[in-house]
Symmetry: C3
Subunit: 213 residues, 3 copies
Amino acid sequence: MKFETILLVIEVGGTLAFAMSGLLEAIRKRMDIVGVFSVAFVTAFGGGTLRDILLDRRPLFWIQNQEYLWLVIALALTAPLWVKTVRHRLMERAMEFADACGLGLFAISGASIASAAGMPPLVAVLMGVITAVFGGVLRDVLCNEIPKVYHDHRPYALCAVVGCSVFLGLDALGMASHLSMIAGICTATGSRLLAVVFGWRLPAWPAHMDRTG
Amino acid sequence: MKFETILLVIEVGGTLAFAMSGLLEAIRKRMDIVGVFSVAFVTAFGGGTLRDILLDRRPLFWIQNQEYLWLVIALALTAPLWVKTVRHRLMERAMEFADACGLGLFAISGASIASAAGMPPLVAVLMGVITAVFGGVLRDVLCNEIPKVYHDHRPYALCAVVGCSVFLGLDALGMASHLSMIAGICTATGSRLLAVVFGWRLPAWPAHMDRTG
Amino acid sequence: MKFETILLVIEVGGTLAFAMSGLLEAIRKRMDIVGVFSVAFVTAFGGGTLRDILLDRRPLFWIQNQEYLWLVIALALTAPLWVKTVRHRLMERAMEFADACGLGLFAISGASIASAAGMPPLVAVLMGVITAVFGGVLRDVLCNEIPKVYHDHRPYALCAVVGCSVFLGLDALGMASHLSMIAGICTATGSRLLAVVFGWRLPAWPAHMDRTG
């Protein structure tokens, strides 16, 4: 009971954080209300949707849970009221925290769904990462940018990889399902928060590598 | 009988208008024959294809109706013969008219397919809009532009929303199916034509909103 | 037996060539390890994945054959060791050769899968082309470029079209399946190699066509 309430709170928080990151990026690109809603929606649900299409699962998450659709619609319609607030320093911190929570939860839930569908561990990890990360990739493609998660040299997808591996490892060792999920989520979210706080960066390629010739 | 003939004429006209908008954009980007065919094809069928993938419907529309494939191939191959004509003022008007007809027809048919598949109204409206609009989004992504429908501040997707809502509302009130469809199509197409003729624009966001900091 | 070994060698070679082209492009865009792996992976498997989604086939190729996933992971992790070598003239030639082999093999296997699924010839050709070409399209979209295969005016997708047509034509004439496949692969790969060696170019559109007004 209580465990599921916590998960729900994280899920709503994570979805809101993802949707907001799409919404802010769309506004930055001077999109209209249709673009803002679309990009927010795609950022929040694109990853889970791709996972379900790849695994051939229906109905899709946001079709079964229409509340999330309404949530994103409300978010887009009320944007002028709160966008200024969101840019304040404190609020930016809060959003990074919610985003890290979303990263952990979506990654582990994606891996757990794939694992339950009989996928081998490597594919389950990949599905977890896709669930957590692909919404942001689609956001950047629609905004005509190179996906941030691919080139900002900050650990994000890798935190999802580590978290999913911990979850699947503990699960394979026979740990109770909800305990291994919690461990996985805490690993992914925690490592992401550490990366943000301490400014961790992925190693750059050797200098000669990106020359065209 | 006669009703279905009219629908078919609109469908062919709308498909042609969508394909042509992709074709012209691809030529503007100096693509070769492969690019021109691909972008025309994706613009014409991308929306319906995404709807069918999301709803898990097969076979896809353009697989079942190969005539449309041949139509787009013929269009791409003969482009040099008529592209100059299309840019004339009168022809541009005709294309905007056909595009508005396509918008209405594809939106209502998308919503009707989703509704028949047991989707709730909100999802049915969304599927209608995706059917009508997503081909253009993909066209712009392939042409490396921010999707026009997201940032030109002109009512397009919203006309589809209104039309689908009218259709589903009248349907829920018990109106005969083909009458509610006609009403929905006329609403979407009509509102789009009015928007074009009178130059309606969506309200811009307050000025402070798109600043990055 | 021997025939299947040859096919396997071509498949591994083609997959490597596709993955490498994604990897090099990602490095050129200064992506990090996550981006490099993702783009390499999408380039290698995007085409076959889209084909399977359009035809509703599961499990996907790379889910059933995890070796390929590991191969791309190893490729991305070891990139710094060999990237410099790849840029040497001889190696570039080898990669173009492997890419042409991949083009032929993936096109014919895509067409053959579609044909076995009961698709009519035109759709089977299209599926063959999608299998061979769409990974590169996705690579360029993720790298925020107009797809190269759409605008470099060099025969690539068209070689796949010709190869698939030869394969399906001979198949329809009753030739043994593996012979018609070999003929198709040789046609696609051979015509691509000829195009590269002799610098064939697709005819440009008439000059007036890409003016905007």
